[in-house]
């Protein structure tokens, strides 16, 4: 099909900033192609620790409390395998990223979905979590800003969840890959909250903030004994993250802040244009506080998410993702990624308006 505008891909439309690419190219020219420490280059871990101290007042020891991984994807996988005994349960708020449930299952665990609702801006209600805790619950997975909903949570809301984790002695896995894509309020990092540090596996990376999706580079910060457990698996499966990607990530942290800030400013502008447009069409969508997704309800059209997406593609050549793939709570919604050129967003809105009017 020609001329399709895709709002379906979950990655930045920016290329990795040149200075990051150049640093990596230079490292290859210089012949830096060996294995690194299993934990990752110490220089990178040191920079990660510095960044987290600067932004979130966290004090991770680069020598023992940080593990550089092949993307946050690997950090999640290794964390679940390290923490879960067969049959252990993990509370996972949904709608959520499609990998979480399967990763828990690969590790022999049981994913327990926790509903979040549009009426509460897709934030997690501690009562919904508490109601689902059992003697087999091992961990709670949080992911804010959230894919697909764009939801963010503030200090109070997150503290309530941390308090629950403390009460039931649960681990907290916090996927904060969209931390820098927080628009209206500064990002609250779960691991900074009272009671959290000793039980939180904080995961982050470079894919979204620095447009390094294909580089496959991320990290986990956690108490030393957890990192050690994760490292035991990581050392046999991955050995280490690619050195070239690590060096690129190091450059991103040292000198890539302005590039990242500019990209985020651009996402913010597009967010307002696009979400404003959706509401004008009648696809109700409160302004999401983070990430680069809009998750409007299509209920007013009488169609469910899947039918809406299918017909929109066929009739107007605009691609969106039906919300149902992200969990029960997503049915009746569609996910639109606004990480694409403003002209394309404007044209997509025009076509969506035509489509909705035709129903």
């Amino acid at each position: 099909m020609d001329d399709v505008i895709s709002l379906g891909v979950g990655e930045p439309d920016f290329v990795t900033p040149w200075r990051v690419r150049e640093a990596a190219i230079w490292s290859l020219e210089k012949g830096l192609t060996t294995y690194t420490s299993n934990y990752g280059l110490l220089a990178l871990r040191t920079e990660i620790a510095r960044k987290h101290a600067e932004r979130y007042d966290q004090n991770y020891d680069p020598a023992r409390e940080i593990l550089v991984t092949v993307g946050v994807s690997e950090a999640l996988d290794v964390a679940f395998r390290a923490l879960l005994d067969p049959g252990d349960e993990v509370l996972i708020p949904e709608p959520c990223y499609v990998s979480y449930g399967p990763c828990v299952r690969f590790a022999g665990g049981v994913p327990v979905p926790v509903p979040t609702r549009a009426a509460n801006r897709f934030r997690v209600d501690p009562d919904d979590v508490a109601a689902r805790v059992t003697p087999r619950t091992k961990a709670m997975l949080l992911s804010f800003p959230c894919n697909p909903t764009g939801a963010v949570m503030g200090r109070e809301g997150l503290q309530a969840l941390v308090d629950l984790a403390v009460k039931h002695d649960l681990y907290v896995l916090s996927d904060e890959i969209y931390d820098r894509l927080s628009y209206d309020a500064p990002h609250v990092s779960v691991a900074s909250l009272p009671g959290a540090a000793e039980r939180t596996i904080l995961m982050n990376g470079f894919s979204k903030a620095y447009a390094m999706t294909g580089w496959r580079i991320g990290y986990a910060c956690a108490p030393a004994h957890v990192i050690e457990m994760m490292m035991k698996i990581h050392q046999y499966t991955m050995l280490c993250a690619p050195i070239t990607a690590q060096l690129g990530a190091l450059e991103a942290l040292k000198r890539g802040d302005r590039d990242a800030d500019e990209m985020v400013a651009d996402y913010d502008r597009r967010r307002r244009v696009f979400v404003g447009g959706l509401n004008e069409i009648g696809l109700e969508c409160p302004l999401p506080g983070g990430a680069f997704y809009a998750f409007p309800s299509v209920e007013r059209t009488g169609l469910d998410g899947e039918s809406f997406a299918e017909r929109l593609l066929k009739e107007q050549r605009v691609l969106v993702v039906p919300g149902g793939v992200f969990g029960e709570g997503g049915v009746g919604h569609i996910r639109c990624c606004y990480a694409t050129a403003t002209e394309k967003l404007v044209e997509a809105l025009r076509r969506m308006k035509e489509f909705v009017s035709s129903l």
Binding site: W18, R19, R21, E22, D259, E262
Partner: protein, 168 residues
């Protein structure tokens, strides 16, 4: 309409837009004696074909309270068989803080314009990222001290039109 006439009209339109990008198609049409539709089509074609590279707003950031540091670099570079200075030029021009890269006659020089927030920032950039490129033999950095005229805009006070409102 003859080819010559079209080219002539196009040149007129481009001259107008070059001075003021915000002139509307209907105003341009009146100025050049063509229809508004014809002007719109012409401008769109120029955008598509790269005759119009971009539309910018020229901002006096110092007045806006955000002074910038500019530096002009002379980069002495070793040309390469088959690629000339292209590889080195590309390595430099891809940085967003690099405004311009030119190959100029006179010596084996690339002339580069860099923008930063502080002198330190620019100097560090040159030392770490430009001077270290393989094939670069040396750099000379000239920091901009005062702008009189930049790209056609005056940055010093222009005496107002001295003519009397009504003259004999």
């Amino acid at each position: 309409m003859s080819r010559e006439h079209d080219d002539d009209l196009r040149a007129k339109v481009l001259h107008i837009l070059e001075k003021d990008a915000r002139v509307t198609p209907d105003r341009i049409a009146a100025m050049v004696g063509a229809s508004e539709d014809h002007v719109r089509a012409l401008v769109e074609a120029c955008e598509r074909d790269g005759l119009i590279r971009s539309y910018r707003t020229r901002v006096d950031w110092e007045k806006a309270g955000e002074p910038r540091v500019f530096a002009f670099l002379d980069v002495a570079a070793q040309p390469e068989r088959g690629r000339g200075y292209d590889r080195i030029a590309e390595r430099i021009f891809r940085y967003p803080e690099v405004h311009s890269v030119y190959l100029v006659s006179g010596s084996q020089d690339l002339r580069v314009v860099v923008e930063g927030r502080t002198i330190q920032e620019v100097a560090t950039f040159v030392a770490e990222k430009v001077a270290t490129i393989e094939g670069v033999r040396g750099t000379t950095t000239h920091f901009l001290l005062k702008k009189y005229k930049d790209d056609g805009d005056l940055f010093v006070d222009d005496p107002a039109d001295p003519r009397l409102a009504v003259s004999p």
